[in-house]
Symmetry: C2
Subunit: 133 residues, 2 copies
DNA sequence: CTATCAACCTACTATGTCAATAGGTAAATA
DNA sequence: TATTTACCTATTGACATAGTAGGTTGATAG
């Protein structure tokens, strides 16, 4: 399952994109509009800042801002940053030592094909696709 | 992620289907061939018997047997029996009270479409598809 | 220079799931 | 009656999820 982190991250991006008027948007406002605990969102956006999905500024007038155009936020990328690999089975996680059973495994193609389906889906969806509703 | 329960279940079905000569197949043999702990497989096949995916018989000469033809084992069904709903987000799990945000939720269509993709994939795959390799 | 606002940081916690293991009981057959 | 096999109950360690709590740093308005 896609976790709250991944889903909240997308909602935060959407919220900021929709209320973007150049200024930084305080988390308080986002939390209120999205009806999500501000405390928990702090963790989410912290990860997003670290991953260069958001830009944050402290102090009065501070808040968060997108650091890309909406059409440059690939949703697959966002989800994998927040939730980890989209792979349906651990043996398909990238940079992993290959499963010793791989050659004889009769179920592997089933997962490979599904993995491809999933990637194709989320890596061809962008934040802008969600906005133009 | 698809858990070991779901994956092992499919491997057990495949193993039995391939070694089917009318007789019941003891779990010991399956565990040895598949290189999976017999103790853990006991739990897996127990669930499978409960769900009418397998038929088991105790005592000498006992073991497990398929109770359908391979082309009647839908893999989506098997996975959902073993691992629970395939839904990518909890608000898409069947027989659940609908999310109050559903109407205004701008991300819901993203999950709905992916959910459909996933179901279409696994509910159109059958055990027989894995055998005729 | 100080109050305030907001991000940022560290730590903790309850709950649940996953992947097993352990040991014993019941059923069928040689 | 001994053996083989399924079946049953209980427990465990490790980890992830979804938060909460409280304090610190940085920027700005007055």
């Amino acid at each position: 399952m896609i976790t709250t982190k991944g889903r909240y991250a997308i909602r935060v991006l959407l919220d900021i994109a929709k209320h973007d008027e150049g200024a930084y948007i305080p988390l308080k406002d986002i939390a209120a509009r999205q009806n999500i605990s501000k405390k928990y969102l702090e963790i989410v956006v912290k990860d997003m800042v670290t991953a260069n999905l958001l830009q944050g500024i402290s102090g009065r007038g501070g808040g968060y801002k997108l650091c890309r155009k909406p059409e440059d936020y690939c949703l697959g990328e966002v989800i994998e940053i927040m939730d980890g690999p989209l792979a349906p089975v651990s043996c398909l996680v990238a940079n992993q030592e290959p499963c010793p059973r791989a050659d004889e495994c009769e179920t592997l193609p089933l997962w490979v094909e599904y993995d491809k389906l999933t990637h194709d889906y989320f890596y061809n969806k962008y934040l802008s696709d969600l906005i133009k509703k």
